[in-house]
Amino acid sequence: MPSVCFYFQVHQPFRLKSYDCFKIGHDHFYEDEAKNKEILDRVATKCYLPANALLLHLIERYKGAFRISYSVSGTALEQMEKYRPDVLRSFQRLAETGCVEFLSETYYHSLSFLYSKDEFVRQVNAHRAKIAEHFHQVPTVFRNTELIYNNEIAAFVSGLGYSGIICEGLDTALGYRSPDFVYHPPFNPGIKCLLKNYKLSDDIAFRFSNRGWTEWPLTASKFAHWVHDIAGNGETINLFMDYETFGEHQWPETGIFGFVDHLPEEILKHPDFDFKTPSEVIRTYEARGEYDVHNLSSWADLERDLSAWLGNSLQQDAMERIYGLEKAVKETADINLIDTWAKLLTSDHFYYMSTKYWNDGDVHKYFSPYNTPYDAYINFMNVVTDLEYTVETALVRE
């Protein structure tokens, strides 16, 4: 009995205000509060509120047969607390249905695993606490920032007690095999891997409104038909995507909400199919093989690697500089200072510095508040320079 497993990513970074060299040493507040509120308002209006309302409605309509999951970053939750408690409340209402699972991730949506295991664990724990506080759940499935993954990460996360981890379904690791089964990492049966079916996921997330696509327009029944074709050849169809797909990346005019509205009905027309959350998938299905990934991979861009965050020397330099501050910042034992530092670990700051697709001005530019990757780097580094002074001063005072 194959299952459809939805997971939606919800994340907002704390964007930095324009911070030029003249502010260094004088101004220790880095957030662009107006912009963060403005973007949260916009995404709430276009995506979070209407999508949450629709999904809640579907969950109620199908009385437990329609089930979904979210991963909401700590920074996104914090911004909802601060600026839009109504949005937080709408997520809580979803949690209360019992049909919605919340996954575990790093609080600051960071790449901390690569730089500091201590910080990684600290962030994962902070996030668990936040999820428990708002949604009264204890996550058992982990998803790393941007689905960054390899065997080592799986082993480490398994050691933290998780029974499952969310991954991109890499062709290079799967070979001829299908992503539509549960796998486990080599020599590690204790944790199961849920692999994103990137083809079907991207049909919704990226291609849905593309009029040049031969399958346009995509209807719920056509999509359900593709899903049903997997019957007998897979056990879990993992549809993982950014939550903003609904209403923000794919505008309401494209018919995305109507598509979602009809999808459960069309999927459930086939009596063998159901919906499951990630932990239910893990409980239900056996691992059918090894998913062996040595090099770090992610769900980003065509390369599915880390080049979107660490592809150029600016990104690497910025990353090393901010993680280089960890020891000193923690020595201050100043909770506010540590929080300010950790907010600078959010992966988005480094994504803005990517020069990869600069020429095309495509998705990277769409998501960046800066005109150029250089501006992103300079602004970030000026902030880091100020934070370094602040930390230094704090330690001297002690």
């Binding site: 030029d20 060299c21 003249f22 600016l314 330099d317 910025a318 020069t355 300079i378």
Partner: protein, 430 residues
């Protein structure tokens, strides 16, 4: 092969700015695929290029000109001019007395004497100078005489000093005329200028079959300030001759920010000063090296002293190419705060030397040099922030210098020549 009558003004080794370098680069890249007759006022004996027939009026012979046909009429500039009472153009310093007396009697003189006077006007190292308008008039009429022989397919004229000649030759021969704009009077003297050079540029561009401009920025200027139909304008970005460069360590404890260019209003010296003042506030260990001279030198010197920034500036005066290269090899940042820069070849030179650049958005080079930091010329806060960042964050300086070097591989005179050849063939097809 298309036969091109090319009219130029600056040409190596004689030039004061980018025009000479650009003309040379274009002629050289075109030479294997065209037959070029290049006419310039002053040609050095050493200047030779394969397949290019170069004529310099500084050593023209009596045999090369038909003095019978050559009737000098000094009111014959193809424009109506209204002289403005104030001197707002860098070229406008005209001393009419110098040659006028000789002109009035010119046609009665013996050929030998005539040739002597022509040589005298075009010899020397000052390519513009006080008597520029007379040079232009004489150049126009000499070119017109040579052009009347009609042994070419197309006319290609570089900048305003050669435009009247181009227009005259077109009128006489009916051959298609291309005007190549490297710089406009509105760049040099400000957008509100309406002097005789502006009028000359405007009239000539109205006559031309095609106008080649060195940037989209300049195209916009031509459309906005000269009301020329954009359909006749083609953008051909400049290139740069590949060169091996070195980096040298300087012995100063301070970082060096290099400004390279004429010290005229157009180059933004006041924004250089404002920026320098701001950079010094946040990064005191810095010196601004100002290489070049011009009418803004004294004001800049005085203001920098008045603002107690004297020790932060090193004024070198005009530098030879070898000295410029030395400065580039040591600079930490190249800074070009131009108010209006049609292209800005020096930014490419800096890139060649691996010097990261902070450049004005009001420039043509900003369109092609992604490896650079760009701000509006008046935004000195942003300039200062960029310079600070380049001095402070090594990874940034390195990344930008590398990106700029990658940009240079696309910026060759060969690319420019290819586009120009396309224009030639469209215009000569009919």
């Amino acid at each position: 092969m298309i036969r091109v009558l090319m009219l130029g003004w600056e040409f190596p080794p004689l030039f004061s700015g980018g025009l000479g370098i650009a003309t040379f680069g274009i002629v050289k890249a075109l030479s294997p695929k065209t037959r070029i007759r290049l006419i310039i006022p002053t040609a050095a004996a050493l200047t030779k290029l394969n397949h290019v027939n170069i004529t310099g009026f500084n050593h023209i012979t009596a045999e090369e000109l038909n003095f019978e046909r050559l009737q000098f009429q000094f009111s014959s500039l193809p424009v109506e001019t209204n002289q403005l009472p104030i001197r707002i153009s860098p070229y406008h310093d005209i001393n009419a007395e110098i040659v006028r007396t000789e002109w009035n009697d010119f046609q009665w003189l013996q050929t030998k004497k005539k040739v002597e006077i022509i040589h005298r006007l075009f010899v020397g190292t000052e390519v513009y100078g006080a008597n520029i308008m007379h040079k232009v008039q004489l150049f126009t009429q000499l070119c017109e005489e040579i052009g009347s022989r009609n042994n070419f397919d197309i006319i290609h004229a570089h900048d305003w000093i050669t435009f009247p000649a181009g227009v005259k030759i077109k009128a006489k021969t009916g051959k298609p005329l291309i005007l190549h704009v490297h710089s406009l009077e509105t760049d040099r003297a400000g957008v509100d200028v309406r002097n005789e050079i502006y009028a000359l540029e405007k009239t000539a561009m109205e006559e031309a079959d095609r106008i080649i401009v060195v940037s989209h920025y300049t195209k916009d200027q031509v459309v906005e300030h000269y009301q020329i139909d954009p359909a006749r304008i083609v953008v051909v970005h400049n290139g740069i001759e590949p060169a091996l460069t070195i980096r040298q360590r300087h012995r100063l404890n301070d970082k060096l920010v290099l400004f390279l260019g004429r010290l005229t209003h157009q180059k933004g010296p006041q924004f250089l000063l404002e920026t320098a003042e701001k950079v010094c506030r946040v990064f005191p260990r810095v010196k601004f090296v100002v290489a070049g001279t011009g009418d803004q030198f004294i004001p800049l010197l005085e203001t920098s002293a008045y603002r107690k920034l004297g020790s932060k500036f090193i004024f070198t005066g005009f530098l030879t190419k070898a000295k410029v290269n030395e400065a580039l090899s040591m600079a930490d940042v190249y800074f070009m705060p131009s108010v209006s820069e049609p292209f800005g070849l020096t930014a490419l030179e800096a890139a060649q030397f691996g010097v990261p650049g902070v450049i004005s958005s009001q420039s043509g080079v900003a369109e092609v040099l992604r490896g650079s930091l760009q701000a509006d010329f008046w935004d000195t806060d942003k300039f200062a922030n960029y310079i600070y960042a380049l001095l402070r964050y090594k990874a940034l300086a390195k990344e930008i210098a590398e990106k700029a070097k990658a940009d240079l591989t696309q910026l060759t005179w060969g690319h420019a020549a290819k586009k120009i050849l396309e224009i030639y063939s469209t215009l000569t097809e009919n």
